[in-house]
């Protein structure tokens, strides 16, 4: 084992994990503001408030961190970690460019990635439970319900890609990619992206943390750095889901001059998708909890199943 | 690396279970799409047709020689289509068919809001007596899901004795168990007892299946394959290809012995043999009686089928190890069941303990390890299942204001109030007791004969003595029915619809026919005595 190589890769992933979410966060601040006719943060760091999130971080680190009396203290403390770490782990499996530009190629990549994603959401659930706050618990349960409802379409849509490529490895899928997969897997892409959005509890699927109903859901009792970590997890999640969608459905590093600029294509596609995530937050009103469930079971799951059938037929016919 | 073969399925050979599973799915769709009023009829029709069809398929397969000369291993080695499998599948289809009639009975419970109802809860998920349930009853809802559940269970049971590798064995086990757990909880009356029975059945069942699975894992580790034939090869010391480096693991006798023991334990649990019988009385008593009848009859058939195949096909090389153990289990079951039954005061519990004793009697045939042993077990299972169904069908008919009156004291004098019913029940009890001219005698004769032929005379002696002990409590019930003064507030016998009457009548006829002229069926079982390898 080449330790140096491994160290570099791990370090790179860690850096990406710390930087990309901040970028997305900043983008969200500014893009949302402009869409709403505001300008957003302007002061921190000078140029268009570029260091706003850094400042936020510093502030969070200094804030007092209370744990409610009735809480299950150990679990309460662990929850942010549980929410955050899986996204980091996922990042390592996402290929950035061709020929091994990936943290680590994992055999059953799709499996691994989806499994890790599922763990991340557990952070919210245990946070909600450990808080001993009825709103937090309600939020946690909604989270759980949402996780369960959207995990299935997520899996099915991913399975569709795996069928098309005949492998579960992410680099393997990209190696097999052809441009016409984009229209072929379009429905799957929609399902996957939407479901991913819902898993992250991003608007319009943010009923679990709907401030107007249940304060801040599972995170109600959190403050200070722990809260910051949850936020970080959310944005890291956006990056991961966008990146995965890009890799699975949009061809990842495929594009002109992909030999040299593959990594750029991946980042670009991911960035665009991140923007779509932010856009969705501004564009759509929040769905009710029941609407969220219904949407998953009656729209996404059937769509995903249909996509699988379609993929299978095409694959057998052409293969 | 990819030496997977494309699956090649012998659809015809597997048709019995496929028909049943298909019908079960259809049943689910009926539940989903048909208006409530029509579901009952549709479900009954579908279930009946499917089971009859499956039976026809079994007969067809047997007639075309699949049971004897053309016995084969189907579905890429997953399932055996041979004599024992077909015989038991035939029995299971018939038992299922008869159980459908029992399940469909709607004339026993007093009509609710003008609608006749069956013995299953209107809204099983609702709190008994709560507003939700009352509403459901008012609306005339019924839980017609029992039919698909029954079909799924029967489907699993059809696979169970035919399973030819450990994977299918395990899946069949779960497929047959899970619906039964649910069915147990659905009683209309005495729901708490019913649910308690379900909890106990489930917890112990899951526990037992975990044991079975661990056994599966160990056997797999021992032989490196899950197919029965492959394991048998390794057991008998002719492994196909052991990698030299793995020789220390493969063929490790500790794995084999522990694994085999755990596997057999899991199956003995399903069979209800001492000391794995703890669940039987509670579950038999608590479950809705039609379900108890079905469960008592069919589970035993399926589980004994699987046990036979496992012992005869996979572990014959280990015979000297398991035979003494099974001797012990057999004796404990026969004696334990019979002795404890004497003190019982509840009809259903009594029958449960008697079923434990019967498990022992059947095991006596299993221990024989001869072709005769297999045939005798097959015959016994066929005979026993119908007697059991009939007996529980009778239990459904004896009712008072609280539902079924299962306490024995309430059965006092039943023979005077309804001589016909009491006589039929007496016939079933006599068959349980193994009195000549009933199927019970023929069955016991067969297994004891097989056991004695194979040199297990000791088992036969204990068995006959246990039968004598058992005869006492059966006869005690008969005496109670015919010689005690009826109580003033005793239960009455409900006049059933033709459904239950058919069940009782059929069971009685089978009991007598198998007792008086068993030859044809003995021949059938005799021809079916050979396992395909």
């Amino acid at each position: 084992m080449d330790w140096l190589d491994v160290a570099v890769r791990v370090l790179a992933v860690l850096v990406a994990f710390l930087v990309l979410p901040l970028l997305v966060g900043q983008l969200e601040h500014k893009a949302m503001a402009h869409m709403q006719g505001r300008v957003g943060p302007m002061h921190a760091g000078g140029f268009h408030g570029w260091a706003q999130l850094v400042a936020d971080g510093v502030k969070f680190a200094q804030k007092e961190d209370t744990i409610p009396d009735g809480a299950d203290r150990l679990i309460f403390r662990l929850a942010p970690g549980v929410a955050l770490v899986p996204y980091l782990v996922v990042l390592i499996a996402i290929p950035l460019g061709p020929d091994g530009m990936v943290g680590q190629a994992v055999d059953a990549g799709i499996f691994f990635v989806l499994a890790a994603l599922g763990v991340g959401v557990l952070g919210s659930l245990i946070a909600g439970w450990a808080s001993a706050n009825k709103y937090a618990l309600l939020g946690g349960l909604r989270t759980a319900a949402q996780l369960m409802a959207y995990e299935l379409p997520l899996l099915l849509a991913a399975a569709s890609v795996a069928m098309a490529a005949g492998t579960l490895s992410l680099p393997g899928i990209l190696d097999a990619f052809e441009w016409w997969w984009v229209p072929w897997q379009l429905v799957g892409a929609f399902v996957f992206f939407t479901a991913g959005l819902a898993e992250l509890q991003r608007p319009p699927f943010d009923a679990p943390i709907a401030p107007e109903e249940i304060i801040f859901g599972a995170y109600t009792e959190y403050s200070g750095l722990r809260f910051a970590l949850f936020l970080l997890a959310e944005y890291a999640g956006i990056v991961v889901v966008s990146a995965l969608t890009a890799v699975l459905f949009l061809g990842g590093w495929h594009g002109p001059w992909s030999d040299q600029l593959g990594w750029l294509w991946t980042l670009l596609k991911t960035g665009v998708l991140c923007f779509v995530v932010i856009w969705a937050r501004v564009a759509w009103p929040r769905l009710r909890a029941d609407q969220i469930q219904k949407f998953a079971w009656t729209v996404l799951v059937p769509l995903a199943l249909a996509q699988i059938a379609f993929t299978g037929v095409i694959k057998v016919v052409t293969g | 690396m990819n030496d997977l073969q494309a699956p090649d399925i012998e659809w015809v050979a597997l048709s019995p279970s496929l028909i049943v599973f298909g019908a079960a799915i259809l049943g689910v769709l009926i539940e989903a799409f048909l208006p409530r009023k029509q579901r009952y009829y549709a479900e009954v029709a579908v279930s009946t047709l499917a089971l009859a069809g499956a039976f026809a398929a079994v007969v067809g397969l047997a007639a075309s020689g699949h049971g004897t000369d053309d016995a084969q291993v189907a579905g890429m080695g997953a399932l055996a289509v041979d004599g024992p499998a077909l015989f038991l599948q035939g029995v299971l289809c018939l038992v299922g068919l008869v159980s459908v009639l029992l399940f469909a009975e709607r004339r026993l419970e007093p009509a609710l809001h003008g609608a006749s109802v069956d013995s299953f809860a209107a809204a099983p998920a609702a709190v008994p007596g709560g507003p939700a349930e009352r509403e459901a009853e008012k609306a005339g809802w019924t839980t017609t899901e029992i039919f698909p559940l029954l079909l799924f269970a029967v489907g699993g049971m059809l696979l169970f004795p035919a399973a030819n590798d450990l994977l299918v064995l395990f899946i069949a086990l779960e497929v047959l168990s899970l619906p039964l757990y649910l069915l147990c909880a659905l009683a209309r009356r005495r729901r708490l007892l019913s649910q308690e029975a379900a909890v106990k059945y489930f917890l112990l069942g899951a526990f037992a299946s975990a044991f079975l699975l661990f056994g599966v894992a160990l056997l797999y580790g021992y032989a490196g394959t899950v197919s029965y034939a492959g394991i048998a090869d390794v057991v008998s010391g002719e492994p196909g290809a052991i990698e030299p480096g793995l020789a220390g693991t493969m063929g490790n006798d500790a794995l084999l012995l522990i694994g085999g023991a755990m596997l057999v334990m899991g199956l003995l649990f399903k069979v209800g043999a001492v000391p794995f019988h703890m669940w039987t009385p509670d579950v038999y008593q608590g479950a809705p009686t039609p379900v108890t009848g079905f469960m008592a009859a069919a589970t035993k058939v399926a589980a004994f089928g699987a046990l036979l195949r496992l012992l005869y096909v996979v572990l014959p090389g280990l015979r000297w190890d398991w035979e003494p153990v099974l001797w012990g289990v057999t004796i404990a079951s026969m004696v334990g069941g019979a002795v404890v039954a004497i003190t019982q005061t509840d009809v259903k519990r009594l029958l449960a303990y008697s079923s434990i004793a019967h498990a022992g009697f059947i095991l006596a045939g299993v221990v024989a390890v001869t072709e005769d042993g297999v045939s005798s077990v097959l015959f016994y299972l066929g005979a026993y299942s119908f007697v059991t169904l009939g007996a529980f069908a009778v239990v459904t008919l004896v009712r008072d204001s609280g539902g079924e009156a299962t306490h024995l004291s309430k059965w006092a004098g039943l023979g005077r109030r309804s001589p016909l019913l009491a006589s039929v029940f007496a016939l079933f009890l006599l068959a349980f007791a193994g009195i000549p001219l009933t199927s019970g005698f023929a069955g016991k004769f067969a297994v004891f004969r097989a056991a004695a032929d194979s040199g297990a005379m000791g088992l036969v002696v204990v068995g006959v003595l246990a039968s004598a002990i058992a005869a006492f409590f059966y006869i005690r019930v008969i005496v109670l029915m015919f010689f005690s003064e009826p109580k003033a507030d005793g239960p009455s016998v409900v006049i059933p619809s033709p459904l239950t009457s058919t069940v009782v009548g059929l069971a009685a006829v089978v009991t007598i026919v198998l007792g008086v002229a068993p030859q044809f069926f003995l021949d059938l079982a005799g021809q079916a005595g050979v396992f395909v390898h």
């Binding site: - | 649910q195 917890l203 580790g221």
Partner: protein, 127 residues
Amino acid sequence: MHLVYPAVLSSLLFCVGVYGVLARRNAILVLMSVELMLAAVSLNLVAFDVWLGDEVHSGQVLTLFLIALAAAEIGVGLAIVLLVHRERGSSAVDRLRALADRDGNEPDRAGPEPGPEGAASRETTTT
């Protein structure tokens, strides 16, 4: 990695599960113990599969099925336990004593001990 490690680990897990089933009173915990036993089985299967280099991967396939069926089992089991819990306000297994061998000759053994919710009286009124 030698086979012994996973095998021993899985045996230990299994024993913990068995202990849990035998010692725990709460039905949910019993259920979890059973799941633990199943997990032990899965571990064993996968370990054997890898160790033996099984070309058709029977062990892993079995594990997949095991996972699926364990899920189904837990689903069904939880449903039943929940039902009981809702009516009795408890899921303690050793308090489920309405069905048991009795010494006495009480004519109607159907009635369990009258619970706080008066469950016993309710059930007779369900006509």
